[in-house]
Symmetry: C2
């Protein structure tokens, strides 16, 4: 009989669930609203219902499921399944998410993991990381999330909170990050902070075609910045160069730490395309040491939004129960 | 019968060899001059002779040895046992060190590893890392070497050159490092560069009691800087504060990458004692994020110069042959 694996991606807005066979082929997929502002019980009911729907859609029942993986925002005590606090889930406070969900799903064992880590592992097993054993992964969104695979295994760290790569400090006493540190890579190079730096520059009087966007829409997005870069705006070039340089420094720093063969970027900002990727590579090649030739590949993720459900199912499949 | 393990530490000046029992108790120890400027054959003869002496001193012969570990400077192709080039070994050029030494030692298998990695592993199994599973290690000398243990295993990276932690960039476009990068932690916070920054400040006209040392001896050492700090010199305070801050940023960056439980500093500079350690901890506590409380311990190594021979023997003992 085929083994069935479930991967759940718990986001602040949507819950996504994928039902997979043992070769990680997708059999069925569902999504539902998270209602993150409600009580834990409601959120967990929403997850359980979306999960049951996915299993039913694939033609199975929850009793046929071999293992369940769940990716959720951190920091958390993943090994014991407890969310201490999560910025976008105001009612979660030392919430035993794993146990509560398991109780709703016939007592099935659930593997809980950080959301960036499961997306990383998804890309590793089925996407841009295929064929390598050592990989580093960055998601470029509101923040910068990270994941590390070392010798084929997700690197979890002593407390399950390794690979918070956006909070690597690249500029001591630099920009204040939401985390409380100064000079984090995230404070410069996330999609939100790329847009924010452009906004600050315009408000400080720098000339740019982006000023019209700011005046008309009241805000600038990262997509606006890259659109105006393509149209030749000088400020957009300066801002995106700074973003690419910060990301190149991040690449150098993780190379000298876990020495991946491949570095994979994901998240909304990669929609900017080659204009972003090539600039990161240019800065990397310019700034990397000359002691030995480095052959690490820098590329974009290929699975899009499915990385999370694939990765959490894959993690569940390899975790001994 | 007891199993016998050998640990060899190949430095630019001295070769050290330790002969251990299966519980890593030291049975005998030898050292010899490396003669690093001579041909590979001479250097390898020196290693082999020191090794045979250590085994004989312990009352065994080379045929009684279960495994041999050898720590040597990188970068190198450790997995195939070849030193491509090493700054302090001018005659090494794609030298098959492992095979050549094995031929001299009755064909025994030799595990080749980076010198900072073996010192890290030595501290992990028998020194400051005892009792934890995840550790990061820094040596503060001419450069800054590094080692990472993750889930009880040395993290080697895709090409065996992981944990080049001194070359994490903490200040883009900052001080030029010997490696060719700008702004490496090593360019600020190694023992040599701490002394060098003091020298530069005095040459630029800053007032300090260190000026007399520079005038009389023609150079300033890191030890001079810490001695004058203890005597109340203001420039020495500024220079050592910058060193401690750079090291604290390194600690934060590795914490957010592999999440160790313990961070261990070794090397000549730790002779400065608590005045250095406490300053690193102060900066760490001041600058670390506030998202969650971090409990990583920052401490000094305890094995001194024996870390390399213990670590290489321990690595050999755990590597399947």
């Amino acid at each position: 009989m085929n083994e069935i694996y479930l991967g759940i991606d718990l986001g602040a807005t949507f819950i996504k669930v994928g039902c997979f066979d043992s070769k990680l082929n997708l059999l069925a997929k569902t999504s539902a609203l998270t209602e993150a502002e409600k009580q834990p019980k409601v959120i967990i009911d929403n997850i359980a219902e979306a999960t049951e729907q996915a299993v039913a859609k694939a033609g199975f029942s929850i009793n046929d499921v071999s293992a369940i993986g769940l990716g959720c925002p951190g920091p958390a005590k993943y090994s014991v399944g407890i969310i201490e606090a999560a910025p976008n889930f105001p009612t979660f406070k030392n919430t035993p998410l794993r146990q509560m969900l398991s109780d709703r799903l016939s007592g099935k064992t659930i593997v809980l993991e950080n959301d960036a880590n499961v997306a990383c592992f998804g890309e590793f097993v089925a996407g841009a990381g295929k064929g390598v054993k050592d990989m580093v992964f960055f998601t470029l969104g509101t923040g910068i999330g990270g994941g590390i695979v070392s010798e084929g295994k997700l690197l979890r760290g002593s407390g399950g909170n390794a690979a918070e790569l956006g909070h690597i400090i690249i500029c001591p006493d630099g920009r204040l990050c939401n985390c409380g540190q100064k000079g984090c890579a995230e404070a410069y190079a996330s999609a939100s902070n790329t847009a924010k730096r452009a906004t600050e520059a315009i408000e400080a009087g720098e000339k740019s075609t982006l000023k019209k966007v700011l005046d008309e829409k009241g805000q600038i997005t990262c997509k606006d910045v890259y659109d105006h870069l393509k149209a030749g705006d000088e400020l957009a070039k300066k801002i995106t160069d700074e973003t690419a340089e910060a990301l190149a420094v991040l690449c150098i720093n993780v190379l000298h730490t876990t020495e991946p063969q491949r570095i994979v970027f994901a998240g909304g900002m990669i929609a900017a395309g080659d204009i972003l990727l090539n600039r990161i590579k240019d800065y990397f090649n310019e700034q990397i040491w000359k002691l030995k030739k480095e052959t690490v590949e820098i590329c974009f993720a290929t699975l899009g939004e499915d990385a999370g459900i694939i990765g959490s199912a894959a993690l569940a499949a390899e975790t001994p129960v």
